[in-house]
């Protein structure tokens, strides 16, 4: 469903240690930047040693491979995004002519403007922001308090509840799609339909075992004395959570927040099913609907819509690159 992590088990989970610690150094260190010899900044050696590369012939091969890789990466991963951003700056006629130009001859922002207003991308953009914000808030509220109870209050049968939650990580989202849809369209006992309601995204999203696992592991490392001190000072459990635990947990909360927002923004299949009213759709679902609708949308406008949908994720990535990548690689290092 909304959980993007449904297929990844605990192994790929960022632990509190890498999240709290300084992010691993990335990029060439000053030593590398100053010398023209390919020397590893960190001093750890890999398959090929620095001495090996010091030989002139090897150095030439190294720089040839390096240049080739830089160019290939630009062509494979950056150029498609560049094409997307600039194709939308062409007029429909220029776009149809398809003379491959690296730089647009003239810049027309009309497609972006029309996409934003006529295609109503603005509306779907705001919808998605609203869903992502609500989903983020609910995930934090529900999962933080559950993980806090599991870690620090240790109730009877807490272990069984935790195991039940973790088990859902192993359930492929696809297998639950149909019964989850039927559940949301008629909640058991309550008989309320969440179809076309943001709660249809938010509540299933809050059942996120990945969050609970990560938070619990982090809370486990907060010393009990800190909490005892708070309770001696007369703080209630809730006050302890808000005043002591949460401020200590900022790094892990940041990781979870990023994953929550990214997950909500990228989700497609579940919102496609739950939000059937075109007016309430997310940006992803609306783009799909517009691409298959009978009314022809000019391709430049469509591409402008794609660019607009991509921008928040790219900005988020560039800002929180360290969080995202260190969270991702922490799992692999463990193995």
């Amino acid at each position: 469903m909304t959980a993007p992590s449904s297929v990844s088990g605990p192994e790929s989970v960022p632990g509190p240690a890498p999240a709290t610690g300084p992010a691993p150094a990335s990029g060439p260190a000053p030593a590398t930047a100053r010398s023209t010899r390919p020397v590893r900044a960190t001093g750890t050696r890999t398959l090929i040693s620095d001495q090996d590369l010091a030989r002139p012939r090897h150095r030439a091969v190294y720089f040839a491979v390096l240049t080739l890789t830089v160019v290939l990466f630009a062509a494979a991963f950056l150029f498609p995004l560049y094409w997307m951003a600039t194709s939308a700056l062409e007029t429909p006629r220029q776009f149809a002519a398809q003379t491959p130009t690296l730089l647009p001859k003239s810049v027309h922002t009309a497609a972006y403007h029309d996409a934003w207003t006529q295609m109503d991308i603005a509306h779907f953009f705001l919808n998605t922001v609203y869903y992502a914000a609500g989903g983020w808030f609910l995930q934090l509220a529900v999962d933080v308090s559950a993980a806090y109870a599991l870690s620090k209050l240790r109730p009877v049968l807490g272990g069984a509840v935790f195991a039940g939650m973790l088990a859902s990580l192993l359930l492929p989202a696809a297998a639950l799609l149909v019964p989850a849809y039927l559940t949301v369209s008629d909640l058991p006992l309550l008989h309320i339909s969440l179809i076309n309601s943001p709660w249809g995204l938010w509540l299933p999203g809050a059942a996120n075992a990945f969050n609970i696992y990560v938070l619990r592991r982090f809370f486990d490392q907060i010393p009990a004395e800190l909490l005892d001190a708070a309770s001696i000072d007369g703080a209630s459990r809730f006050q302890t959570l808000v005043r002591v635990v949460l401020p200590l947990s900022r790094p892990v909360l940041a990781v979870i927040s990023i994953f929550a927002v990214v997950g909500m923004w990228k989700d497609f299949l579940w919102p496609l099913l739950v939000l059937q009213d075109p007016d309430k759709q997310t940006l992803s679902v609306a783009l799909h609907r517009l691409s298959t609708s009978t009314t022809q949308v000019p391709p430049t406008e469509m591409i402008a819509g794609l660019s607009i949908a991509a921008v928040p994720m790219i900005v988020l990535f560039l800002f929180f690159q360290r969080h995202i990548l260190s969270g991702l690689s922490a799992g692999a290092v463990k193995g």
Partner: protein, 319 residues
């Protein structure tokens, strides 16, 4: 307390009656506090338990029950025994969907499994622009999947699409890409690999960086060349990560949906997959939720095998 279960014994003379009554009261107070603590804890967990019960545990049971029912959300559900499963096995699309899903998974593994490994080994040897490489390879992973898929839909356009334009410019033969049943599946795999390979690449890279450098030094001192070092040091050291990623990748690629859904639709027999067929049964044709649930149960059973392997693997290494 261990003593609480012991039968009442005559008190030792040293214990005054007053002391006994306070310990009794203390025990009762402790019990009361424990009940209160548990109540507080469950109050904190209530929302979480409700969400999991409603949207994870209950749907699992409901899905299995539903696969033995006929349900279209309009008339009340009816028990039909194994009818849904019989119906599935009789539907030629069912077998096509499995064949296509296997083909997609196989191709996705060939590309999406080998390529990230090779790239990671290469990147680990490069001493420059490391941040650039990592950001570039992961950028597509950040894009909403529908954006990647629709973008490639423009690239695949047989007339003026980017790929054929470039191929024509280079004097190479062009392709019909998603519009030909011969190349459609490969086209789906290509976009899927492009959009998803960043994660695997960076996980391999992290694992490569964790290999102790002494191993390579020792191998070199023993006279091992680059190829031998790769074969006898790198690959054995990476075995665990490679196996974990293999299982995770099989599990996620078998659930492929958005690529065929957007690029070729859910009717084209050359690319219909298990998930698009589930969608078709449940939401596109006649709301046959029982049939779709039966299909989901079968998919679940297949994926459960891989999930079990994954669990065993990670458990074993945890010990």
């Amino acid at each position: 307390m261990a003593t609480s279960l012991a039968p009442p014994r005559p008190d030792p003379p040293a214990a005054p009656a007053r002391g006994r009554s306070t310990s009794h009261a203390a025990r009762r107070a402790r019990l009361r506090r424990r009940i209160a603590d548990n109540a507080t804890a469950y109050a904190f967990m209530a929302a979480g338990i409700a969400c999991f019960a409603m949207f994870s545990w209950y749907p699992l049971v409901r899905g299995i029950v539903l696969s033995f029912q006929q349900d279209n959300l309009i008339t009340p559900p009816q028990w039909v025994g194994l009818d849904n499963y019989h119906h599935l096995f009789a539907d030629p699309l069912f077998w096509t969907a499995w064949k296509n899903t296997a083909e997609f998974t196989g191709l996705a593994l060939l590309l999406g499994y080998a390529v990230p490994f090779v790239i990671a080994v290469l990147l680990n040897e490069l001493r420059h622009f490391r941040a650039y490489f990592r950001i570039a390879v992961y950028l597509p992973v950040m894009l909403p999947p529908i954006v990647s898929v629709m973008l490639w839909q423009f690239f695949y356009d047989p007339g003026g699409g980017l790929f054929n334009t470039v191929l024509r410019g280079a004097g190479l033969p062009t392709s019909q890409w998603i519009q030909s049943p011969h190349t459609a599946m490969l086209s789906l795999v290509l976009v899927s690999t492009w959009a998803n390979m960043g994660g695997a690449t960076l996980m391999y890279l992290a694992a490569l960086q964790a290999i102790p450098g002494e191993l390579f030094e020792a191998a070199e001192l023993d006279g091992a060349g680059i190829r031998d070092r790769l074969r006898y040091v790198t690959i054995p050291q990476m075995r665990f990560v490679m196996l974990v990623l293999l299982l995770l990748q099989i599990i996620s690629t078998m659930q492929v949906f958005i690529e065929p859904f957007q690029l070729t639709g859910f009717t084209d027999p050359s690319t219909i997959t298990v998930m698009t067929l589930v969608y078709r049964y449940a939401f596109a044709v006649n709301n046959d939720f029982g049939l779709a649930a039966a299909m989901s149960v079968l998919l679940f059973a297949v994926l459960a095998v891989f999930a079990a392997c994954y669990l065993r693997l990670t458990r074993e290494t945890d010990r």
